[in-house]
């Protein structure tokens, strides 16, 4: 087992004496080489889970294990691709990608060769001297993926990496990410609030409930790759996931707009059909 969360709770302080219970009794297991998506509405605690695994934050109670080792802090065995990429604007593409490699005491030459390999994998071999601001959103995310992959992490953590991209770019990157996963066999935890994205990419989709965040259900996606959104397996599964997600949405809206609020379920479902499950 690569990643294992046992009875993890996370509470953030809120105001002076209050606190916000974000994660409740999270049990989560990811096997080596698995591609797992964590799906849930915004604010349900997805990033918090990812940060706990990355070691950027600590659970209030419970334990996080990666490779059987308790997570105590950040480590290069777990690299993150953030939604905004997190490339350093003061470094060019090559320096961004070699950043972590040089920290591993690799020689400059070796690091650059490895970085080039990674950049070619994401089709950016010709952009080594460019600065991040000269790249499009999709190219930036490719560099961020290359920067993570060259570290050869045990687990690749991706926090809504394609959420800010346009639909066309996203579809291309979905394909590329599937190819990369098949080629490298990396264990990937992919966070998204987009059903279609979760179903297209992963082997298993973990659906989160919200306030407090908990793992509500787990769906295994048994569809052939490369995935085709019109595949009947995916269409059926999407309906099931959607109906469960709607319950969560309703809970959120009720809290935000008061108890009198009723979600017009059918309207949301129709709208989501048209927009391919985007931005639920």
């Amino acid at each position: 087992m690569k990643v294992n969360l046992e009875q993890v709770n996370k509470t953030f302080p809120k105001g002076k004496n209050d606190s916000l219970h974000v994660l409740q009794d999270i049990d989560l297991k990811i096997e080596a080489g698995e591609f797992v998506s964590l799906l849930g509405p915004s604010g349900c605690g997805k990033s918090t889970i990812l940060n706990l695994i990355a070691g950027l934050d600590h659970p209030t109670s419970g334990d996080v294990y990666v490779n059987g080792q308790k997570v105590k802090g950040p480590g290069t065995d777990r690299v993150v691709v953030f939604q905004q990429g997190g490339l350093f604007p003061w470094m060019n593409v090559l320096d961004n990608v070699t950043y972590g490699l040089l920290l591993k005491n690799m020689s400059k030459k070796e690091a650059q060769e490895k970085a080039m390999e990674g950049l070619r994998m994401v089709h950016l071999g010709n952009f080594t001297k460019s600065f991040p601001h000269e790249l499009s959103g999709g190219m930036k995310q490719r560099v961020a993926i290359a920067r993570s992959l060259v570290m050869d992490p045990d687990v690749l953590l991706m926090d809504e990496p394609f959420a800010a991209l346009d639909e066309q770019t996203r579809i291309i990157l979905h394909q590329e990410l599937q190819e990369i996963w098949e080629k490298t066999g990396k264990t990937i935890l992919f966070i998204t609030h987009n059903i279609r994205e979760a179903l297209t990419l992963s082997e298993r989709v973990l659906l989160m409930s919200t306030r407090p965040g908990a793992i509500k259900n787990s769906f295994t996606v048994q569809a052939s790759r490369p995935r085709d959104p019109s595949d009947s397996v995916l269409v059926q599964l999407e309906k099931r996931v959607m109906s469960e997600l709607e319950e969560e949405m309703e809970k959120v809206l009720k809290e935000e707009f008061g108890d009198g609020y009723r979600l017009k379920t059918s309207a949301v479902r129709d709208r989501n059909r048209e927009h391919m499950g985007d931005h639920i």
Binding site: N51, L56, F82, Q84, L87, W90, E134
Partner: protein, 249 residues
């Protein structure tokens, strides 16, 4: 510019004031008489002004360098440790509001009248602004960069050098610019009051010799150096950072 120069020239020649108070800029009032231009050129040729400029600039650079190092260090400590922020950070705001020349009497008692006292007030004049700006810069480094670096294996001094410092460069440059302006004011005040050598001292000499042509020449030098530093050094730094990183210019 032309209007100012000709107005000055007319006032100078109108005999409203004695020539030593209002010396002509370009055209001598009586044959062979002094002009600011001639004093300026002569001062440059004889090396008097150049030498004084050299003395002032070297003091300024040393004092400024000390201030930058101290400011960066204090700024880093303030951003890093809450208790330093609560103590030093609080004082710095108060210290920043004290004009540095106010320290001069104290400096003379501590270090005697001379180089060290001047360096002291230059450094102290620039340190606090540098501290405030760098701590603001360090505190506002986006956590996205810090988290990205930490998951890639960076920490401690490496993190400070490769992420915290470059990410705060825009703040640091504006800090340098303001700190330089404070240092520049401080050194003039210091040299006027108690300098041996330097442009401020020459100004004071011009005053006691009642030669306003010398005073004005020095003012021109001061203006030129100030403009060059601001336009050529600091603004250029700002622009090149903005261009290279694609940050808002």
């Amino acid at each position: 510019m032309i209007v100012i120069v000709s107005t000055w020239e007319i006032i100078s020649k109108s005999n409203l004031f004695p020539t030593f108070m209002f010396p002509p800029l370009l055209i001598p009032n009586d044959p062979g008489g002094v002009t600011v231009l001639s004093t300026f050129v002569n001062g440059l040729i004889s090396g008097q002004i150049l030498e004084a400029t050299g003395v002032t600039l070297s003091r300024l650079l040393v004092g400024f360098a000390i201030a930058v190092v101290l400011g960066l260090t204090f700024g880093f400590l303030i951003s890093r440790y809450k208790w330093v922020d609560d103590t030093l950070g609080f004082f710095v705001t108060a210290l920043q509001s004290i004009p540095s020349i106010v320290w001069f009497p104290l400096a003379i008692v501590w270090f005697g009248l001379g180089n060290i006292s001047i360096l002291f007030i230059v450094a102290i004049g620039a340190t606090w602004t540098m501290t405030v700006n760098s701590s603001t810069g360090f505190k506002n480094v986006p956590s996205l960069y810090l988290n990205a670096a930490r998951t890639l294996g960076s920490s401690g001094f490496h993190l400070a050098r490769t992420v915290i410092l470059p990410a705060s460069v825009p703040h640091l440059i504006s800090g340098l610019r303001v700190a330089w302006a404070f240092a520049w004011r401080a050194i003039m005040a210091g040299e006027l009051l108690g300098g041996s050598g330097g442009l401020g001292y020459l100004l004071d000499m011009g005053r006691s010799l009642q030669s306003m042509d010398l005073v004005l020449s020095i003012m021109i030098v001061i203006g030129i150096i100030g403009t060059i530093m601001d336009n050529q050094v600091f603004r250029r730094m700002e622009r090149s950072v903005a261009r290279k990183w694609g940050m808002g210019a």
